[in-house]
């Protein structure tokens, strides 16, 4: 809709792009903010962290108990009095082991559950915040940001932030406990053996962090390439008639192969990165284990340690192996949360350009007079190209204003300014003398309805679509609106009538049917001002005529503005404005404008009875 005005000249600028370059300080701020959000669920956070600490401690006890049991067995094997005591002790060890295992399981469950719960709760809060923000951000924001980017923020980035507590914070506590206390226990028992048992830790921690970060970077790249591929496929399937019309299947396959190979190459590369590292990490772990076995074995022979102690070291290593590999995931979680978070918060902190003034009051409509007073406008980011210049006109209740003009003359902009989709740059728009910028947005938008040229239909029933602006409406009203918009008969012809689902998964409507549905939906609103923004272009002239007749009574109570290319749509207006380069160059009733013999007349001639000769190329390129 704004494409006419800004589209070609300015490329959509992604105002969220800057966050990619966020520095360290910003990243820490983001993490701090996520943590503050987490702390709004203090009990769950406390349970999660408390459980983590207990579970880690219990887990560290298991190798000790196992080692003890092995030693006791050996002692018992040695026989004698000590043996009998050891046998009893063995029972105690076994029961302790069972108890510790069960408790560890329970606390791990509680750790994971509460960690997830914290994440899901802030996920829920962020979802609502995101939704509300997106609903409220002004048109100019949505013009500049790709819908795909918003979807990425609302779905993927939100996940990254939500998971930070469980995959980042809790994991960090767990790893610190396991590795820290584990290392202390091992080294304090036997320095050399302890160092050997831990020798794989730095290597694996480093490799897994590097790998995860590399995979993350290539993942983003891969998504990019895959989206190119899916675009190729989607366009091909959507435009399959063009493809066939030009017999270009072979060319399309080439395009597909190029995009496909591009993605496949990177996918292979990622497999390489992943596998090279996992194999190397496993190897380094086992190598350390082998060293412990060799040196530990020597120590056993030398009588320095017992077999049980050695078992403790070995089982300890198996316990450490998984958490150490997860260091990479933890690092990744921090990196992900900080980039995702800064994008997400960037959105949530975005200023809403068009909002209620502090002293805004609801509109009070008495006369129902709309007035443009020297209105000027340029789209944000294209201030050098004014779209409207000093436009003034007035329309009273019951009147119809027609607006015509060449493409880019600013017609649609007028439709966007009245409900404050954008704010005027100069001058003012008033309703019964009240500047619309001083009225509450909600009251303004109840009073001003725009029928857009390519309106969005919701994937729901026809009934719900018509009642979109007034979901409390009675069925009879919905049908009346539908009758006035000349949609009723079509709907009755559908097997499920008003309950038919339209859009993506339902029946697909033709352009004209969509426009009629949009008109019906707007008629439900009972506004003081209704604007038809080229919204009958796909409806044939006869049906349009019937709609106009049906709307006559509706129009009596409000100001109607009709923007159209087709003169028959607005010939009957009380006032016709001819717009060119953002200025009103002619105005008056149809007959007056025809008599004037100016631009309107020329347009009329062209449309109603085109000359017998098609204008030749020569005089075309000259003009």
């Amino acid at each position: 809709m704004t494409s006419e005005a800004i589209g070609s000249a300015t490329k959509p600028r992604n105002s969220l792009a800057h966050v990619k370059a966020a520095g360290w300080g910003k990243g820490l701020n983001t993490l701090a903010r996520i943590t503050r959000m987490n702390l709004r669920h203090p009990w769950q956070v406390a349970f999660a962290i408390g459980s983590t600490i207990i579970a880690a401690t219990l887990q560290l006890l298991i190798p000790q108990l196992l080692g003890r049991a092995v030693d006791q067995t050996q002692a018992a094997f040695a026989g004698g009095e000590a043996g009998a005591i050891a046998e009893q002790a063995l029972w105690i060890s076994a029961l302790l082991l069972l108890l510790v295992s069960t408790l560890r399981g329970l606390f791990t469950m509680s750790q994971n559950y509460f960690a997830e719960a914290v994440g899901h709760h802030i996920g829920y809060e962020l979802r609502l915040a995101c939704y509300e923000k997106i609903q409220r951000l002004s048109f100019s924001f949505h013009d500049q940001v790709h819908s795909g980017d918003l979807i990425t923020i609302g779905m993927l980035d939100l996940e990254g932030v939500r998971m930070f507590f469980s995959t980042g914070v809790v994991r960090m506590v767990l790893l610190t406990m396991l590795i820290g206390i584990g290392a202390y226990l091992l080294i304090s028992t036997d320095l050399v053996l302890g160092l050997l048992a831990l020798s794989f830790v730095p290597f694996v921690a480093w490799r897994s962090s590097v790998t995860q970060l590399k995979l993350r970077a290539t993942w983003l790249d891969l998504q990019e390439r895959l989206s190119v591929l899916s675009r190729v496929m989607e366009e091909n399937l959507g435009g399959i008639r063009v493809v066939r019309a030009f017999a270009s299947q072979a060319y399309e396959m080439l395009k597909f192969d190029r995009a496909s190979k591009n993605a496949l190459g990177l996918a292979h590369e990622r497999v390489d990165i992943r596998v090279r590292n996992t194999s190397a990490m496993t190897f380094s772990f086992f190598f350390a284990m082998g060293l412990v076995l060799l040196f530990g074995g020597n120590k056993v022979i030398a009588g320095e340690i017992s077999v049980g102690r050695l078992t403790t070291f070995l089982t300890f290593m198996t316990i450490l192996q998984m958490p150490v590999r997860q260091i990479g995931l933890m690092v990744n979680s921090f990196a992900r949360a900080s980039t995702c978070g800064s994008r997400l918060f960037g959105l949530l902190d975005m200023d809403i350009e068009i909002k209620d003034a502090p002293d805004a009051k609801p509109l009070e409509i008495s006369e129902g007079t709309l007035r443009f007073e020297n209105v000027s406008f340029a789209y944000p980011g294209a201030e050098g190209r004014p779209i409207l210049r000093n436009v003034s006109f007035e329309a009273r209740r019951g009147e119809t204003v027609g607006i015509v003009g060449p493409p880019g003359s600013g017609k649609s902009t007028i439709a966007h300014l009245i409900p404050r989709f954008y704010d005027v740059a100069g001058g003012a728009i008033t309703l019964d003398g009240q500047d619309i910028r001083k009225a509450t947005l909600a009251s303004l938008r109840r009073e001003v309805a725009v029928v857009q040229q390519d309106a969005f239909l919701f994937t729901t029933t026809i009934e719900n679509n018509i009642a979109y602006g007034d979901p409390w409406a009675k069925e009879s009203r919905i049908e009346r609106a539908s009758e006035s918009a000349q949609l009723h008969n079509y709907v009755l012809g559908l097997p499920t009538g008003y309950q038919t689902v339209v859009g993506e998964r339902g029946v697909s409507l033709s352009g004209g049917q969509r426009q009629r549905l949009t008109i019906a939906r707007t008629m439900m609103l009972k506004p003081s001002v209704i604007v038809f923004d080229d919204s009958t272009a796909a409806i044939d002239a006869a049906t349009e005529q019937r709609i106009r007749v049906a709307m006559r009574r509706f129009a009596k109570d409000r100001v109607t503005i009709v923007i159209a290319h087709r003169l028959s749509s607005l010939m009957h207006a009380d006032q016709i404005l001819f717009l060119e380069n953002g200025e009103i160059v002619e105005r008056g009733r149809h007959e007056e404008l025809l008599a004037k013999g100016g631009r309107y007349k020329a347009l009329y001639e062209l449309q109603v009875r085109p000359g017998d000769q098609i204008p030749s190329d020569e005089d075309g390129s000259a003009g």
Partner: protein, 637 residues
């Protein structure tokens, strides 16, 4: 509406609103019908079809299965080596250290083999699965290039895309995990075997916990899966609602629905929170169970194993080995039960993939198809053509006409008269039921589609542009066209001026489907594209939508340029176009009822002259009832 209603309606509205409930007719997000996610766990037909894609890589499959078995073997051997070292190499005070060194050497060897095997298997499987994924996608995409247009007409692009992406991805997941599950099964059996072999009695006692785990998981799995599915479902519902809010934001704001929508969205987001918390409970409840079972198994080994050691019936190293195995043996069970869901999902996806691959190809080149030479005369002839999308309802009935080389013929008639079908037949989008369509004197069924396409350029009613630059769009497919030719074509159709006003000119990127251009501008670019294609025959479906009068004028001029020196078959809606044609064919209900040029048809006083005299700028503007009246009169004359 009437004044009287207004007050009454206001009252209705307030009544309902006061009860505080949700509005009866408001929803956010779509009524989605989720596709079936799980199929039978095993469907031999589908496995066979998938195997056809894996077959080219069967050497790699063999290598990777072998590698996974070797890998599993080394995993089993490592505790045994430790056991050997403990029992034979670690007697305190022992002088001979060969046993320990031997064990260390064996350990080193085992981990080297382990390294090599895991590396090989993962690399081979990972890359193969990616390859198969891309192969399947390519096969489907290629197939869709050939299937009949009637299939494409009735299938949504979105649905096809989810086949090409989601379903293909779940096949990849299936391939990757199925090799791993071979390893899991081997590991599970290996552990059971080794434990029983080391000590039958102790092994049996320890393994007694396994059936318990199986039974528990059997109870757990269906419930847990329901919980996971519910979480997945509510998540996609909430995401769908968010996507709708993003795409429909302008409609939402202009109808002031933010408040209502927020409340409705809160319902969905909250439902999502609840299902996820339930799913988390199900996921976590297995943890203490598995840990308790592990604890039991370890306790058994310590008490029973310990007393056996004391009686001299067991080496202490065996006991240690048991403790190692116990820590490993729940893993394969866990991943095998997960495998089951992956299999079911893969079967459901596989079914949908084969459905697409099995769509029949209706229009195919004959084995001895001829190449249509550019030197052919450029005539188009319909000989007694009967055609319909379903055999019982012909859209064209016994239609015959000939368009001579260089001539422009306009097809005129009310909606549903068969104009568009006639146009599609020239390009052989469909095959006729009876009769023949001849291009350059050849039956289109005897020609290769490629060469036919090169000689018949089509301009469709709804111009479709591809993402890319203006240049790429005009140049589309005609790889030999130079930049000069492209610019010349754009100038000829009058598109040059507005193209130059775009930032970047011919190299300006068009938005998604040319979204940043007006309909008229897109039309002009599609004209330029047809001009560059430089075909002998031009088939054109004039746009019906209202284009502003200025662009309309450009289009009319461009049309003249486009038809110069070409045979033209135009589905015309605008009177200006119709009058410019050499000959007009009036179609009604699939039959030709009048032909002749404008003057002749006017003189004849038939349907055409009646329609023309109604004085509408376009035939499409004529109201239905007027049209019906004229048609009835027309057919009587």
């Amino acid at each position: 509406m009437a004044q009287g209603h207004a007050g009454e309606m206001e009252a209705e509205r307030n009544d309902v609103r006061d009860d505080g409930g949700r509005p009866p007719r408001a929803v956010v997000g779509s009524h989605r019908i989720e596709e079936e996610m799980f199929g039978k766990a095993f469907d031999s037909n589908i496995v066979k079809r998938i195997w056809a894609f894996v077959k080219p890589y069967r050497a790699k499959v063999i290598v990777s299965v072998a590698a996974v078995l070797v890998f599993t073997g080394t995993q089993l051997v490592i505790p045994l080596i430790i056991r050997y070292a403990i029992d034979h190499g670690m007697t305190p005070g022992m002088v001979d250290r060969t046993a320990l060194l031997l064990a260390a050497g064996a350990f080193l060897l085992a981990i080297l083999i382990n390294y090599a095997a895991s590396y090989t298997q993962e690399i081979v499987v990972g890359k193969m699965a990616e390859n198969v994924l891309f192969d399947i996608r390519r096969a489907m995409f290629g197939h869709l290039q050939k299937v009949s247009l009637s299939f494409m007409d009735k299938t949504e692009v979105g649905r096809l895309m989810s086949r090409l992406q989601g379903d293909v991805n779940s096949m990849q997941e299936f391939l990757e995990t199925s090799v791993l599950s071979v390893g899991d099964i081997a590991l599970l059996f290996g552990i059971v075997f080794v434990m029983l072999w080391l000590d039958f009695r102790l092994g049996l006692l320890t393994l007694a916990v396994l059936p318990i785990l199986f039974i528990v998981r059997l109870f757990w799995l269906p419930r847990a899966r329901d919980a996971f599915m519910a979480a997945h479902e509510t998540n996609s519902v909430a995401n769908g609602a968010l996507a709708e809010a993003i795409h429909g934001v302008r409609a939402v704001q202009s109808m002031d629905r933010q408040q209502v929508n927020f409340v409705l969205y809160d319902d969905k987001a909250h439902a999502n929170l609840k299902t996820h918390l339930t799913a988390a409970k199900y996921a976590q409840v297995m943890v203490p169970i598995v840990d308790t079972l592990t604890g039991i198994a370890m306790a058994v080994v310590i008490v029973v194993g310990g007393s056996m050691v004391m009686n001299g019936g067991l080496d202490i190293g065996v006991m240690v080995a048991f403790l190692f195995y116990i820590q490993r043996f729940f893993d394969p069970i866990r991943s095998l039960t997960l495998q089951y869901s992956v299999m079911q999902r893969a079967m459901a996806s596989g079914k949908r993939l084969t459905d697409v691959l099995d769509v029949r190809i209706d229009v195919e080149d004959k084995p001895d198809a001829k190449v249509l030479s550019p030197d052919m005369d450029g005539s188009v002839e319909f000989k007694n053509v009967t055609f319909g999308y379903s055999p019982k309802h012909p859209v064209l009935k016994d239609v015959s006409f000939k368009v001579n080389p260089g001539e422009t013929v306009a097809l005129v008639g009310p909606t549903g008269s068969g104009k568009s079908s006639a146009m599609a037949l020239v390009h052989r989008f469909y095959d006729v039921q009876q009769g023949q369509v001849l291009v350059g004197g050849y039956d289109v069924r005897d020609l290769t589609q490629e060469s036919l396409g090169r000689q018949v350029a089509m301009v469709l009613q709804e111009p479709f542009l591809f993402t890319g630059t203006v240049f790429e769009n005009i140049h589309y497919h005609k790889t030999e066209a130079t930049r000069e030719q492209v610019i010349e074509a754009a100038k000829a159709v009058g598109a040059h001026d507005f193209i130059m006003s775009l930032a970047g000119g011919y190299d300006a990127d068009l938005g998604e489907r040319g979204g940043n251009l007006s309909l008229g501008q897109r039309q002009l670019i599609s004209f330029a594209r047809a001009l560059v294609a430089d075909a002998k025959i031009l088939v054109l479906d004039e746009a019906t939508a209202n284009i502003d009068s200025y662009t309309e004028m450009l289009i009319q001029r461009a049309l003249v340029k486009l038809l110069e020196g070409r045979t033209g078959l135009v589905i015309a809606h605008r009177l200006a176009t119709i009058r410019g044609a050499d000959r007009i064919i009036v179609l009604q209900n699939g039959r030709i009822i009048e032909t002749g040029n404008h003057a002749q048809l006017m003189a004849k006083g038939g349907l055409y002259s009646k329609l023309y005299n109604l004085n509408y700028a376009s035939f499409d503007d004529i109201p239905e009832e007027v049209l019906e009246a004229s048609v009835q009169n027309g057919s009587r004359t």
